[in-house]
Amino acid sequence: MILPLLPLSHVFLGLTAIAWKASARATLIAALIIDISLLAMAFSPAAHWLSGLSVGGWVDVIGIRLTLDLLARDFLLLTVLLELAVVVYIWRQHVRPMFVILLQFLVGSVIALILSQDLFNIYVILELLTLVSFLLVAYDRRTFQIWASLKYLILASLGMSIFLLGVAVVYANVGSLGLAAIGQTVIADPHAEWIPLAAALLVAGVSVKAGILTFSLWLPDAHSTAPAAISALLSGLVIKMGVVVLIRLAAIFPLGLVLQILGGITGIGGAIYAMSSRDLKRMLAFHTLSQMGYLLIGMSTATHNAANGVLAYALAHGSFKALLFLAAGTAFDAVGSTNIAHMIHTRHLIPLRTRAALLLGTLAIVGLPPFDGYIAKAPLLAAAHGWANQAILVLIGIGTAASFLKLLPLFKGPYRRVGNDPAWQSYVILALPILLFLPIERALFGAAFVLPAMNWVIAMESLAVLGVGWLVFRIHRRTEARPPEGLLRLETATAAILLGFAAVYALLKFA
């Protein structure tokens, strides 16, 4: 019954802050108090009391339904974690109240989205999310931020109108917008004529927001140019919102093959671009794409463990990617550039804790066994059936390892104390899940879920992938081959969305 209050409280806080010009810190403290109570509510034993009829008790066909399921809890945890880390990160910085207000709107709409069970509600919230992140990307008003941000808005808006077409097709055939009702209709007649078109429109529309190639060619620019705290939120959290919608859609429509193919393209394409990028933030942004590949492959495998693996990996990726972006931001402040060669050259100027954070994030993202990247990847590897899925996962792993090995010289000496590290507490917050992922997963998904991570075959496989990644890195270092950057231009990205839609449709219709 009181589920709508969860997002509305953040929204209300944001509006209060802007109307009464509250100071940034007061707003942040209030936001944290709200977050803690949200978490307590969501994970309390009485949580089932929260979900109920549609919002406001209106007629079920027309009204909007919200639920607090496992997926919502998982992402709620991620949201609160990232918000906490970002709040700590910007605590000492001089931020304008506007930043904090937009942050509240962002968190509010994220929470609303993970609860929502209604297609049109999802559309509205995704648009709100687009607008808020659009404003946040260009927060520093540098021209390349403004351009990246505008490109993002144009492409996302095109995607959302494709999504709206999909909503229309669904509504015309189901007569309701609730996901449950749509699911029932699809189960009743899985070969109905409208399903491929509706599914293709919805998937293509939401893929633009979800960081999936070839739909999300705006992502590298937007995520690499935004201020560090924003990049962390966008890559760790906002991009996952598209994934949330995709998970919900995959539960309704038969999307297995499409997700597998998109996952392959996204994962491998992102890794190839990441391998040849020389800027740390840009590489991280491309890796956001490549890690989406894991999630998509997981989604395409319709087993219980794979589904949980997707949730676990989303949580893990959120934590280490945010850690990497925040540390990259501090490193930029210290040495004035995120060019990897330059960073390595001036590594003695980067504060020690920041370097430690970068190291931890690197170890987690390449999937070294005790860290959360590995623990979350293990169930996906175990659940992936068929050589194609296995091959894609292994290739993404190799690409990730090959590109992050570039950072290794950064961690060599000299280790001198330089400057102070203003935001090290935020690293600690994000390091907690990276180091303590096993108990968290156990608590969320049950004991059976963590078994693959204990399997020594999978552990060996991960190590082997790392080894091959090292080889690829050595070979690739000598070549000057770089994938074309022209793909990321506005016109090409627009055409890629349309082409992607046609391809998804063909797959759903004829395969």
Binding site: W147, L153, L158
Partner: protein, 139 residues
């Protein structure tokens, strides 16, 4: 003329909009095209379950007269406002870009942004001066 219904026209509008969005280089025209695409989605939603004999969903309506479905109409009201919000914000950003580059030509802006970024990467990172080469060619 059965084929000339709202959904067909909406999709033709969509095609015109995407063509203009890709082909035209002027950012203002790109935004107009984006608005057209969004409008086409709205027209699609309104007309998809519309039958010619339906009347507006405002009571009282005699029981034997079919009512146009009110739900899509309610949804569309939100969509129109959202489109307005997108337009206003993107126009502001275009204004910021024009102030900097004195052009609305998309290719020129992309070129200028690229050179600016390259200049920033190559310059010694100590000097955090924002002045760059892109400022120069335009007065």
């Amino acid at each position: 003329m059965g084929w000339l219904n709202g959904t067909t026209i909406a999709m033709i509008l969509f095609a015109i909009g995407t063509t203009a969005l890709i082909v035209r280089r002027d950012l203002v025209i790109k935004l107009l095209a984006l608005g057209l695409i969004n409008s086409s989605g709205i027209l699609f939603l309104i007309s998809i379950r519309f039958r010619p004999q339906m009347v507006a969903p405002i009571l009282p309506v005699p029981a034997w007269v079919p009512i146009a479905d009110p739900l899509p109409q309610a949804l569309v009201l939100s969509a129109i406002v959202i489109n307005f919000a997108i337009l206003a914000l993107s126009l502001v950003f275009v204004m910021l870009l024009v102030e900097r580059y004195h052009t609305t030509d998309c290719e020129r802006i992309e070129h200028a942004v690229d050179t600016e970024k390259a200049a920033q990467e190559s310059q010694a990172p100590e000097g955090d001066s924002q002045a760059s080469d892109a400022e120069r060619p335009h007065r």
